[in-house]
Assembly symmetry: C2
Homo-oligomer: 286 residues x 2
């Protein structure tokens, strides 16, 4: 591993090509993105090497190659063996190359070049979903990743990034999701009206999370509604949901504020709503 | 306002003194900290100028002075009038001075120099609290601020930063709390055993949030327990709660993971636990 000729630098063509994936245009052109760090790479490899009928809830990820520094390789022998066994090329890279491929202050030294994970809206909403999370105009990739992780944890069937939302393949989003972008179907659809129509065709009731919603998410009326298939609409951090989107939903639901805070942030409000739904749906089926 | 002699620069002594508050040692020496931005400064002024018997749930904040750039002053006439009416000095500062006092990429141009808001543990836990949030070894100031905001929103009686936790007066924590550091009592106590003893003396049952807890937070047994006064213990992002702290609690409680995510992050896990408690306590009193 100390032989320089075997180790890719930041100028090696495959590293130069991978580096273009740090930008949205580069990702869209290549149809690929970078997953960085042990958790994201592990989730990518687990998905890519899962049995075809593994019931993973979404189609398998595709991993084209893995990059690892010498230090990262020592720390991640398991994942690298999984990659090698599946015939996925593993390339050693220098620390400088790892830094060039990273958007973080402390590069992880382990990266996977993956095929885009987003699926068409109709595919994400196939199969009678019971819990769908829709982010409308989500601007912060870290928040979007956190919500994808919460949706996954709560057993959601799909996440949709609607309107002018961040790219789910953005490095901060992939990291914030801690592997969850590989766990459940994620669709990207700019046309919000089409997303609402798609959710209705899929049989979910649309609930808009708004600070002044007519339902308290913990009210018995809301709980009864949550036990049915639901699609939650969450707006942007800065502006919330546009009034016309909130009005287009079947109900507007607020998270109760019992103290003196004015509001919750996007990720924590979504956590209350999505977990309240998961709880209501499980209580109803017992 | 365009007369330079009336506008403080980054070299004006009061700005130089305020700048020292960006560091924990400076804050500890002065007993003061900086609140930045319209929401934090507004919350500081609202607390500082509240009637003594305003039932605000905590003692009043103290604001020594307010700094504003010309642009920020135009945008925040209301808060500046509140300050002036209360006899709090308002100083105009240059954009460079605002940048020197800010830890953010885009300085807000509005800052308040405040007296530390932390109170002794016994004071924070006075008055038969029903919901206490304890962060043990919270390392990330943004996460700590988010949890303080969630605790406030859920109507918690107090937040305790225990062990080797971040300073709640850290700029990122104050910003993440979006004013909530001024809304409920916050105590800082390094001695974790003393925090646990203090909570027990205050009559709250200690619940440790752990991934492998024996109770599911949504189980009926847990819900019955949550309806009683509770103190939640949350560990650090990286390591969770130390085993001896979790064992010292009255019960260990997990957030159910219905999907394929391995876990939730600190802020979202705390959101589920704290809101489940608020819900159980309100359902019990109806």
């Amino acid at each position: 591993m100390s032989d320089g000729s075997l180790v890719c630098t930041e100028r090696t063509p495959r590293v130069v090509a991978a580096r273009k994936l740090l930008r949205r245009t580069g990702r869209e052109r290549a149809g690929r993105f970078l997953a960085e760090g042990a958790q994201a790479v592990g989730a990518a490899l687990a998905s890519a090497t899962a049995p075809a009928d593994g019931g993973v809830g979404r189609s398998r990820a595709r991993v084209f190659e893995v990059f690892a520094t010498e230090l990262a390789a020592e720390r991640n022998i398991g994942p690298l063996r999984v990659a090698a066994a599946a015939g996925i090329p593993v390339s050693m890279i220098t620390e400088r190359a790892a830094a060039a491929l990273s958007e973080t202050v402390t590069p992880q030294g382990l990266l996977a070049v993956c095929a885009r994970i987003d699926v068409p809206l109709a595919e994400a909403l196939a199969g009678a979903p019971r819990l769908v999370v829709v982010l409308v105009g989500a601007a912060d990739p870290g928040n979007a990743g956190t919500v994808i992780r919460v949706a996954d944890a709560a057993g959601a069937d799909a996440v949709v990034l609607a309107g002018d939302s961040v790219d789910p393949h953005n490095g901060k989003c992939v990291r914030g999701s801690v592997g969850s972008v590989f766990h459940l179907p994620v669709a990207v659809e700019r046309d919000v009206a089409e997303v609402l129509a798609g959710c209705r065709r899929a049989g979910v009731r649309l609930l808009a999370a708004t600070a002044d919603g007519e339902w308290d998410v913990f009210d018995p009326t809301a709980s009864a509604a949550l036990a049915q298939p639901c699609g939650w609409l969450f707006g942007s951090e800065a502006h919330g949901l546009a009034a016309e989107v909130a009005q287009a939903a079947d109900a507007r639901v607020r998270v109760p504020i019992y103290g003196r805070a004015e509001s919750l942030n996007l990720a924590t409000a979504a956590t209350v709503c999505v977990y309240a739904t998961a709880r209501a749906q499980r209580a109803a089926t017992i």
